[in-house]
């Protein structure tokens, strides 16, 4: 899948290197964003049929298809909203509490 890659952002040294107004080329991801997740979606791949309804409903676009055609979740950006688990027609996604000691 064509997902933006994480790139470093170095603060410009000169004001001339700042963009004119707050605009920048699209898809420039500078940091992971998943720290507020309490529950993480865990896909039971034996139950999952690969319908990819979760891909359609995920509000953050973190569901991807692996080369093997399976569902994969990008935990760097998943916020743990649980929409995928709620919508899965085969109840193949469980919301599992994060271990905060990790």
């Amino acid at each position: 899948m064509d997902k933006p890659e994480l790139k470093d952002f170095t603060k410009p040294e000169s004001i001339r290197d700042y963009p004119v107004g707050p605009s920048f080329y699209g898809g420039h991801l500078v940091s992971v964003n998943s720290g507020w997740r309490t529950f993480r979606p865990v896909v039971a791949l034996d139950t999952c049929t690969g319908c990819f309804r979760c891909y359609l409903v995920c509000p953050d676009g973190v569901i991807a298809k692996t080369e093997a055609g399976k569902v994969a979740v990008d935990y760097d950006f998943c916020k743990g909203c649980g929409v995928c688990a709620h919508e899965c027609p085969f109840s193949a996604i469980d919301m599992v509490k994060e271990d905060i000691s990790e």
């Binding site: 603060k11 107004g21 707050p22 080329y25």
Partner: protein, 404 residues
């Protein structure tokens, strides 16, 4: 219909002159909500779009807030946008003003200067636009319908300059300019096209180079964007002067950059004005000169960027100066006075200054009122700051006795 292929003089109101200037500037998007005394601009432009003489998308919006938002949307894809408003409408779109300047969108807007409620009033003063002085917009105050038309064309040229990219507000005194008919020369379309090329900017959304626009920043980057806005506004001063010079070479009319002077060279008493009252002040200067009093008028055209250097050069030769504000910042003084006074604070010769507050809510300012200002300036106390605010700020032409 006006034939813009040849030079033509037409008898139009200030509002109509702006509409003609907008059509000559070929905006692609117009979004505006009608409000007295701006309405005629919006009416004429919608008629021009309807009859095909202006090839633009006219967006009917439900509020001024939406008018500014739609103009920003247009500007963010690289379209030339126009809107117009007045008074309560200007304040209703206030958050949009900061958004547009922060987003560096060179939108041009006409503002019909009108009083702010309460008391409700449709008549003119400068309290609406002066309260938006910090919104990051360039502000010009025009004196007549011809200047209104000419500045509409120049506004796009200045706002869209790559070193400026800052929105531009053209202020016309409500009714006095918006509804008064004058003979106005309409430039030829062909010449305007060569003076004002189509808007072009890399700073826009497009499918070829996708951009995130209008994002948030952490404290680590926010000030840099604000610095850029300040620098662009400062840099616009030279662009304004250049735009005026080239305009005068092409169309034969100059407005002399950021300020204009009348009889200031040897003047001992100078009154600073903005907008239509400048014409009245010129007449008062003539009558004072006949009486042997060396009076002059400094017409402050731009409030932002502020012409500090020009003001300092012109006023520091005077014995005393007055600022005629159609505005009052309650509890202090008129905003123009605050700015002019601040400009002078660094000069070696700091003349005494008085602040005349007049014309609020459409109150007339007559030639005689201005003559009295010059007489007051002659009697200006050695230290006008002796009694602080009370001694230097006076309300002109009050209808009742206020000596409580």
């Amino acid at each position: 219909m006006i034939d813009t292929r040849k030079n033509e003089s037409v008898f139009v109101s200030g509002d109509e002159a702006v509409a003609l200037g907008v059509r000559l500037s070929r905006p692609q998007v117009i979004s505006a909500y009608p409000i007295t005394p701006q309405t005629i601009v919006v009416e004429r432009l919608s008629e021009m779009v309807e009859d095909g003489s202006l090839d633009a998308k006219y967006i009917h919006v439900e509020s001024e807030h939406s008018a500014m938002s739609a103009a920003m949307g247009a500007s963010s894809v690289g379209a030339r946008a126009f809107t117009a408003t007045s008074s309560q409408g200007l304040l209703y779109m206030a958050e949009g003003l900061h958004y547009a300047s922060g987003g560096r969108m060179p939108i041009v807007m006409m503002n019909a200067n009108r009083s702010l409620a309460l008391p409700w009033s449709i008549f003119g003063d400068h309290r609406d636009s002066m309260s938006m002085l910090d919104s990051g917009w360039i502000q010009v105050y025009v004196e007549d319908a011809q200047e209104a038309l000419d500045m509409t064309i120049q506004a796009y040229r200045i706002a869209e300059d790559p070193s400026v990219l800052t929105p531009f507000m053209i202020n016309l005194d409500g009714f006095i300019l918006t509804h008064t008919y004058e003979l106005v020369e309409v430039p030829r379309q062909k010449e305007v096209d060569s003076y004002l090329p189509p808007f072009s900017t890399p700073n826009k959304m497009s499918l070829e180079t996708p951009k995130s626009m209008g994002f948030s920043t952490s404290p680590a980057d926010n000030m840099e964007f604000k610095y850029q806005q300040h620098k662009a506004m400062m840099d616009s001063m030279e662009v304004i002067k250049k735009a005026d010079k080239e305009f005068s070479e092409m169309f034969g009319r100059s407005y002399h950059g950021l300020v204009d002077c009348y009889q200031c060279d040897d003047a001992e008493y100078i009154l600073v004005t903005a907008g239509s009252v400048t014409g009245t002040a010129r007449v008062a200067v003539d009558t004072m000169r006949i009486k042997g009093i060396k009076a002059g008028v400094l017409k402050l055209r731009f409030m932002r960027p502020f012409p500090e250097q020009e003001i300092r050069n012109i006023l520091s030769g005077a014995v005393s100066y007055g600022v005629l504000d159609k505005d009052i910042s309650f509890g202090y003084e008129g905003t123009m006075f605050t700015n002019v006074n601040s400009a002078l604070s660094g000069s070696k010769n700091f003349p005494r200054g008085m602040n005349f507050v007049g014309g609020l809510g459409g109150r007339d300012i007559s030639v005689q009122d201005i003559e009295e200002m010059f007489i007051a300036l002659q009697k200006c106390p050695d230290n006008a700051y002796g009694d602080y605010i009370k001694s230097r700020v006076s309300f002109v032409n009050m209808g009742v006795n206020i000596n409580e």
